[in-house]
């Protein structure tokens, strides 16, 4: 099993969700993060103008069986790409074990819809 983590723009979230749905990924978890990256944004607070590299992003993470990885990655790239700096990154890593709390079952089985 692989874990896919994507840091994306909040504004493409709906599109990414749909794209993942189309390749069969229906389970995931997301949360809002702040990213430091290439993109910069001008900001003003009271009399101070400053440039911030701290920009709101959304982190999406899900675990899926190995054969889904490529399709899922492609789906995210397609849905989340604007071509401008700051589109984000996808990271893939290995998961040793997965457990469905509701039933206690383990392994890739626990990732199926039931």
């Amino acid at each position: 099993m692989k874990k896919i983590e994507a840091i994306i723009r909040k504004s493409v979230f709906d599109e990414v969700l749909e794209a993942l749905h189309e390749v069969g990924i229906d389970f995931l978890t997301y949360y809002d993060v702040t990213g430091v990256g290439n993109e910069k944004a001008g900001a003003i607070y009271r009399a101070t103008v400053y440039e911030t590299r701290l920009i709101e992003r959304r982190a999406i993470t899900f675990v899926c069986r190995d054969q889904f990885v490529e399709a899922a990655t492609d789906a995210i790239v397609k849905a989340a790409q604007t071509g401008e700096m700051g589109d984000g990154k996808i990271f893939i890593s290995t998961i040793d074990e997965s457990v469905r709390i509701r039933t206690g079952e383990k392994g890739p089985e626990s990732l199926y819809i039931k």
């Binding site: 723009r9 504004s11 493409v12 944004a41 001008g42 900001a43 003003i44 103008v49």
Partner: protein
């Protein structure tokens, strides 16, 4: 002090304090609109609400006051730049009357911002909101409160505190604005309608409480005098009763219709009751007020559904329904429920007819001029922010400043 002077002091006190309450409604509108929209646009919506009042203050003095109350034709007052002409009723200082009228004018402008929230260019907002306070509102206001043609009909049009003058006008402008602007990205997608929940109902609810409080200035203050304390007291009771009835109606209806009682809709219900009673708060009984408020609370639900689902005009806070539809409805109901002249009290259909004329002509004015105004702005300077700005939030791009850090 002699008796006349004392009376004048008392009445001045009255309209200044009620005017201050109406001023406070700006905060109420700001909170309602901010609460019912997303957090990425909060700075923007607050800024708009602050600025329409600031600009309105200057603009209403520049020409609005004269256009509304100046002696002119039945359709238009007069240009009195930086007006110093006295338009106040006897016994009240001109500046007190001016202040009271000013806070009403600002209300009309503010209504529009809710319907057009989350996608309108800031600079365009400032322009159209200025035009509303400077010209659009004063013109129709002149017809009704400035001695214009609607007040000269054989049965004069009755809009005591502004269901039509202020609210439905604001609503119609909001309608045209939202129409020309188009829905927010994500509201209608692949033929489906998506809810875009507001980011903070607590703030929205506080806004409604503040508006309710402000209405105790809006309606009773429109007597402009305390010479008839019974009348003033009645207006407090009818205003309050209609608000309560509106809330209860929406509570019941949403419960029946959706299976669960909904707060966001009930907050609209309270406002619907308040808007609807504004025209006839002086003319109906408490029982009549409850009926009017109750019906408005029902109407607002169907109206919101209609604009959302049928007309597909995206109005984030329900301003068109609450102010436009319920304002018009409440004005018509005066023709039914007015103790003196209403259909239900044996007064025949005369008043109802006048009320319909008033409602329709203000609707025609509001929609007509609104279409022109917003099309003009759209073509001259652009009305809507870019897709990117909208998606990432107006706060970032328009102001470089987020509300929450």
């Amino acid at each position: 002090m002699d008796l006349a002077a004392l009376t004048s002091s008392l009445d001045t006190f009255w309209i200044l304090i009620t005017g201050a309450l109406v001023f406070f409604m700006q905060a109420g509108f700001a909170l309602v609109e901010a609460g019912f929209t997303r957090s990425k646009n909060t700075t923007n919506i607050l800024f708009k609400n602050l600025m329409d009042f600031c600009i309105g203050t200057l603009g209403f003095w520049l020409v609005g006051y004269g256009i509304m109350f100046g002696t002119g034709s039945g359709f238009f007052g007069a240009f009195e730049f930086f007006s110093e002409v006295n338009h106040a009723p006897a016994g009240i200082p001109n500046m007190a009357f001016f202040f009271f009228q000013l806070v009403f004018a600002a209300t009309a402008a503010t209504i529009v911002s809710g319907a057009m929230a989350e996608r309108t260019k800031f600079v365009s907002y400032l322009v159209y909101s200025a035009i509303i306070t400077l010209v659009i509102y004063p013109v129709s206001g002149h017809w009704i409160w400035g001695g214009g043609w609607l007040s000269q009909l054989s049965i004069p049009f009755h809009d005591f505190a502004g269901s039509t003058v202020v609210h439905s006008l604001g609503g119609w402008l909001a309608l045209t604005g939202a129409l020309i602007l188009g829905p927010r990205i994500g509201k209608y997608k692949n033929g489906k309608i998506y809810a875009i929940p507001g980011h903070n109902l607590l703030i929205g609810a506080l806004g409604v409480f503040i508006l309710w409080l402000g209405w105790f200035g809006f309606n009773p203050g429109s007597t402009l005098s305390l010479s008839n304390p019974s009348l003033v007291a009645n207006i407090f009771v009818t205003t309050n009763a209609a608000a309560a009835a509106g809330g209860v109606a929406t509570l019941i209806l949403t419960w029946l219709k959706y299976g669960k009682p909904g707060l966001s809709m009930s907050l609209n219900g309270v406002l619907a009751g308040l808007v609807a009673i504004t025209a006839g708060c002086d003319a109906v009984t408490p029982g009549g007020a409850i009926l009017i408020g109750f019906m408005a609370g029902i109407l607002v639900v169907f109206s919101v559904e209609f604009f959302d689902k049928v007309a597909k005009i995206d109005d984030p806070v329900g301003a068109i329904s609450v102010h436009g539809i319920c304002g018009a409805f409440g004005t018509l109901m005066v023709g039914m429920f007015a103790v003196d002249g209403g259909l239900f009290y044996g007064g025949g259909a005369g008043l109802l007819g006048t009320q319909a004329i008033g409602v329709l002509s203000v609707a025609a004015w509001g929609i007509g001029i609104g279409l022109i105004l917003f099309y003009a702005i759209k073509n001259i300077m652009g009305l809507r922010v870019s897709k990117k700005e909208e998606e990432n939030g107006l706060d970032y791009y328009e102001h470089g400043e987020t509300a929450y850090n």
